[in-house]
Symmetry: C2
Subunit: 262 residues, 2 copies
């Protein structure tokens, strides 16, 4: 009935936080939340008093294959029973007011939750209903609040987007991907020696064709050409292409008889 | 017709990247993209060959008030004309293959884009169609690719979610919110002296009521109580409440005649 045999092959990685949706309204949103959780490596979903009951087939349709999270999701009567076995609970709250509570950014909370999970303690991330958000009693069950820094002129996030930001930060808190690399596939970045070899070839042909014939200006022109090619990482394959381009352009010139072959 | 008089009062902050949707299919998604952009302070939207034409009223319905971005959005025939006035263009690409291109994380690209925008150059962020993604010719128009680190077992992001992650990172790249604070509203964090004053009061009453009567164990018990109250930041208002609790509990005990008043 609810896609128990379908979906992606999702297996929890280590000890990860439980997402608790408090009084969620639309099944579509619950499915979209499961999808967002899976994106960031969150696997455990609990529902507190879902408005339309549970299970709801619609949720599986919007989960885009994160079926397992919905299959395994548990339903609880109230917040207290949903968090009873957890050790540390965060509540997301866009507009906290008149309460004394630690407030973390999503990034700060993700880093802290990683540390707590590493101690084999169980962490919860609580999200309120679509429009109203969490009430004061819900928040009193939590250790800390999470408030996303976002454009103050436009803070409206839907439930799945709110979960996505938190799931993404959870993933990023341990991600080791370098911030910038050059994808080179079968080739590799050229060494300075290989680049020098090409620049020598180019300069030679530019001397041959007369492009560098103004001798007082020649050193500056050669340097400017060097600056251009030194600006980005060039691959070994691209250098071979450049050698070929220079050779063929020079040869074409010679074949058209505009300069004498050497 | 398309909500030109409605929506949030959104005014661009500084020089921010242009979001370019290439061959987007569903108007719902275009609206949801506008909403996600506004969340992160991105204001400029361009559409390349939207499948169902433009404008589409549905888009305004899913924009949740980010109407202005849709009102101001421009439509282009091809990628080349959409990027012609830009200086640096990133393409999001979940599965880059067989091309030689710089690849950045969303966070890395956001930081780099902030630097480029600060130089008054115009940056583009290009997103492909819902299912197919960008093709190789689209990517050849770009300076670099962006690939989000996400759970490799479940990478499926919808278009608006992909834009949200990038918009969020753009916002976070300049956000100064402290990662963890204590929201204290009208009160403030207590000083060590105020805490000491309360601990003196508590210890006095615990001596009075006999809780600390085991003199060899007394120093250790007092230290353990200290450790508990030193663990978290306590506010001045909470200390007053704690003073009141101790006073009332001690008084109640006296009124019930279980100990003599001092």
């Amino acid at each position: 009935m609810t896609g128990k045999d379908g979906g992606a092959d999702l297996h929890p990685i280590g000890n990860s936080p439980v997402v608790i949706l408090v009084r969620p309204q639309l099944a579509d949103n619950i499915g979209a939340v499961a999808r967002a959780m899976a994106n960031g490596g969150l696997y455990h979903l609990r529902l507190v008093a879902p408005r339309d009951g549970w299970p709801q087939e619609k949720a599986w349709r919007t989960a885009s294959g994160a079926d397992r999270l919905l299959d395994d999701c548990t339903v609880h009567e109230d917040v207290a029973s949903a968090v009873a076995d957890l050790h540390h609970v965060y509540a997301t709250c866009p507009r906290p007011r008149h309460i004394i509570k630690p407030v973390l950014t999503a990034r700060g909370a993700a880093a802290e939750a990683r540390l707590i999970c590493a101690r084999e303690l169980r962490v919860g991330l609580m999200f309120g209903p679509e429009r109203a958000g969490l009430d004061n009693d819900d928040m009193a069950c939590c250790d800390a609040l999470i408030r996303y820094p976002l454009n103050p002129d436009f803070m409206s996030l839907n439930l799945a987007q709110a979960v996505l930001v938190m799931a993404y930060e959870w993933w990023m808190a341990e991600d080791q991907t370098v911030a910038r690399t050059l994808m080179t596939n079968e080739t590799r970045i050229a060494t300075k020696g290989e680049l020098e070899n090409f620049l020598g070839h180019l300069t030679h042909e530019l001397d041959e064709c007369g492009f560098l014939k103004n001798l007082p200006k020649r050193p500056g022109m050669v340097r400017n050409i060097r600056h251009l090619f030194q600006r980005g990482e060039v691959t070994e394959q691209e250098l071979r292409t450049l050698h070929g381009i220079v050779t063929e352009l020079a040869l074409g010139r010679r074949l058209r008889g505009r300069v004498e072959p050497p």
